[in-house]
Symmetry: C2
Subunit: 128 residues, 2 copies
DNA sequence: ATAATTATTGAGAACAGTTATCAATAAAGG
DNA sequence: CCTTTATTGATAACTGTTCTCAATAATTAT
């Protein structure tokens, strides 16, 4: 008798799945509270549990608060220092290289987080 | 008349350079205070400035407090979930791949942080 | 169905790490 | 030296997160 399904938990996951902007917990909380009564402790609790369960990914940000991502596909992120957005970066060769490292260095890699800091393509275009 | 040299600032940088365990600010503070009078606000202030100046790297940890690194060479990190240590990972092919991504995606990458989570070679050996 | 059990919730207190405040100190330059 | 002003140290304030605990509600047993 563990890990019950509650409407709050479902609401939190649904909200994150719809939000493709890698929201913080506070941002998630605001969206959810607008639709339904939820305590923010509940959002914190469920988020960390869902991260443990692998339902959701946490993105540790260099200067600030963690962000969350319901997209579990193998991808990376770029935080743009112009517009501040966190963009998805997909690349199929990077995982191969990481597997090579895993073998060469005799380590076991369970999770990879790659955070690039720089300027996104949109902002680069505008600069010209 | 900006950016003066103080003995505190020097002390902080020296201490970080000697500590190869990617200490947190609190850990740094304890080491420094043992030798000399320093306020912890001073350590916080100088660390964030030194990160801005590029003298030092900040490592955003997934579950917890940021760690710092005075080794500016191009390398990555593995946090071991057995021993908890943060190990350096050097690989010369990864930067090439990232430069390829930079070109392909039309983005500008100023900084790359790669944090692998898993088990270090020492702990893997012990497990057998 | 109904009752019993217990995981989950919500509100707020507590906590940890970090930043801001401000008078005192001490670098840097004249 | 003397002046200027960046930096320091102590502490208060702040922010994001976790903890506490009684109330609630999801599951299991009756």
């Amino acid at each position: 008798m563990k890990n019950r399904n509650t409407k709050q938990k479902q609401m939190i996951l649904d909200t994150l799945k719809k939000d493709h902007n890698h929201p913080t917990i506070q941002e998630l909380f605001e969206q959810i509270v607008a639709q339904e009564e939820v305590g923010q402790a509940t959002v914190y609790r469920n988020m960390s549990r869902m991260v443990e369960e692998g339902l959701v990914n946490k993105i540790a940000m260099p200067n600030g608060v963690d962000r969350y991502d319901a997209d579990l596909s193998n991808h990376y992120h770029l935080v743009c220092r112009k517009c501040g957005r966190l963009m998805d970066i997909f690349d199929d060769k990077l995982p191969e290289r990481l597997m090579k490292i895993e073998k060469d260095k005799h380590i076991q890699i369970d999770n990879t987080s790659i955070l690039l800091e720089g300027i996104c393509s949109d902002c680069l275009k505008k600069e010209e």
